[in-house]
Symmetry: C2
Subunit: 378 residues, 2 copies
């Protein structure tokens, strides 16, 4: 009877009908039935990615799609610019270096968004840079980077791609791939798509595909030109993660029934409620500006964030901690995917009870009341 | 009320309790609970792989693990020897070339096993070859290659690894990694492991790990040294395909309850019954010697194999066809994983009815009777 609430920024809870759809007898992937399914999913991913380009599916975690976003577009010796303001921003640099690229890392304090002037400066210093690699929402800090502005800076540079890790942004907040001129968007199944991990997504602009033709980095499993050709006929190049695609169909039905704009609003409401609750308790937010997927907050100065996470855990709610140097200093509450206002209220109440136990002073209930006010539209 | 029987060599049917285990609320992968699960799965994979080495899990299809078996062990400019006697044998060569290696392909007629003398000759011609890359069971033709003999040839050569694609052999027939001295064995979830696709396995010998330290090919997502270190603590380097690992736990319980030897015998019985049935109908087998995972048979000379597959399909049983130049000429019946003698009997009966429709002459029932005799131990 210990019902547990998972409030992490991925994996996120999975709706029951989606779990049961995936529990049906397995389909063979080389059948007309599966081809139709894969194609319909590809089509319906387009509005979620705000693009008319093909959205490709890969059998991997999101990191596999990040690797593909480098190995399919860069050439030996290329320079890329990355925004290293969190664990996932650093990952772009690690992948680039693993493939022998020259990586220019823009160091940004964790929790701060990159300044457009820093991007422009890096571009001017490295005019031949093959791409700017950035997170729309940096999951480790909950910050939102200014993707629209970065895309605008890349748009006028014919040799530079704007590549965005949208793993915790796609389906959560506006990331207007075509309209803003973003060249590559990557995402993964265990975030807003409310599925188990193991299916990654990648969409590429015409400019990116043209640059892919010149790429000479080695790759095989993550060969996007091959996937593009295969998936146009409803087949992945290698065996599809069939059950996740079956689940994806169900999830896309839910997302599109709600509508993309309403989906973003829903997430925005959850995020605003969470932030209001945390601020009302006298805590400070880490991220500036905060993304919609996850809220990161500083523990009070005299408190170990690990104790907060533990206390909330004792109340059967799992939230996440900080990574690397932020470990013990921040906690993170995820609210992308299959979450409700009730989940946020319950989490804030558990946070209140934990903070009270740990000696933090506040008026009991203020966090919950502040969130409820947001949810009530007040 | 159209109950369908999937008789393909992967994906194979999934037991109901495994499907339901995977339909439970998702676990977070950075928890003690999941760490314990991943570690227990790693431990229990060892007897199935016949090794005391760590068996690593990757979030990808089997092809991802094949790529890892090249990129983690070879160096720039290395030569590898591959056995190109089927679609998957050719894939080793394609991956090697994608990474700039010099690939020596031993051409083998599809359906024939490679001769050990051909391996020895290639090794003598290319004494510095970094590895022999071969399939234990070549799924596209149903042939078994002589892995034990190949491993013996590599054992005395300190610079050459014996690398085996065991995707349709592990859990099906003896592939004695440690005893035979096989250096690397690869497998995947949607075969004998009775799971959906999306989880790949790889186990490596001490000799292989030592050679991995010298490898300088680029890789990031499939970095086995990193995975080895991480998975020793119950964590994958990137997000685990959590639900597949939960399913794997259930599957391993089943496999180990039966015992590895009994599991191989069970598959051997299914394979012998299938072959006996097909031969009794006057058809010829493609593979020499046949593997235990899948039986490939020639269509009668005057018949298109596609018509046989279609006829069996009309009886709600899905079998597989041939690939590339064998398309239309052979059909393949899978019997690795969650299959019963009853499934084989039903498939042979559907084959009989189809062959009768297409004008093939035989005494009705001989195929079914021959298989039943094998199953009855006669």
């Amino acid at each position: 009877m210990q019902k547990r609430l998972l409030m992490t920024p991925g994996p996120t809870p999975i709706p029951g009908d989606v779990l049961l759809a995936m529990a049906q007898p397995i389909l063979h992937h080389r059948t007309p039935e599966f081809k139709g399914l894969l194609k319909s999913c590809g089509d319906d991913l387009q509005p979620i990615f705000a693009t008319n380009e093909q959205v490709l599916m890969l059998s991997s975690s999101g990191t596999g799609a990040m690797e593909a976003a480098i190995t399919n577009f860069c050439r030996h010796g290329d320079t890329i610019i990355t925004v290293a303001g969190g664990k996932f921003g650093q990952r772009w640099g690690q992948i680039g270096r693993a493939y022998g690229l020259s990586v220019v890392e823009i160091e940004v304090e964790w929790g701060q968004a990159v300044e457009l002037s820093a991007i422009e400066e890096a571009l001017n210093e490295h005019p031949g840079a093959r791409g700017i690699y950035v997170q729309a929402s940096e999951t480790s800090t909950g910050v939102r980077h200014p993707v629209q502005g970065i895309a605008a800076l890349c748009r006028t540079r014919s040799e530079t791609l704007c590549v965005v890790d949208g793993i915790t942004a796609v389906g959560v907040e506006p990331l207007e791939m075509d309209k803003w001129g973003v060249d590559i968007v990557v995402s993964g199944s265990q975030k807003a798509f409310m599925l188990p991990p193991g299916l990654a997504f990648i969409a590429c602009s015409e400019k990116a595909w043209a640059m892919a033709e010149q790429s000479d980095l080695p790759r095989f499993y993550f060969d996007l030109l091959k996937e593009r050709k295969n998936q146009a006929t409803g087949q992945t190049a290698y065996t599809s993660p069939v059950s996740l695609v079956v689940g994806l169909r169900k999830v896309l039905d839910r997302m599109l029934a709600m509508g993309v704009e309403a989906l973003h609003e829903h997430h925005d409401t959850l995020a605003r409620g969470t932030r209001a609750g945390i601020l009302a308790l006298g805590l400070k937010l880490l991220a500036n500006p905060p993304a919609t997927s996850v809220t990161a907050a500083w523990a009070p100065d005299d408190m170990d964030a690990g104790d907060i996470i533990k206390g909330i855990g004792q109340r059967n709610i799992k939230i996440a901690g900080g990574q690397d140097h932020l470990k013990g200093r921040i906690f993170r509450i995820g609210h992308l995917g299959w979450f409700s206002q009730a989940d946020i209220i319950a989490t804030l109440s558990a946070l209140e009870c934990t903070l009270a136990d740990l000696g933090h002073e506040f008026s009991p209930g203020v966090g919950v009341v502040a969130a409820a006010a947001v949810f009530e539209g007040k």
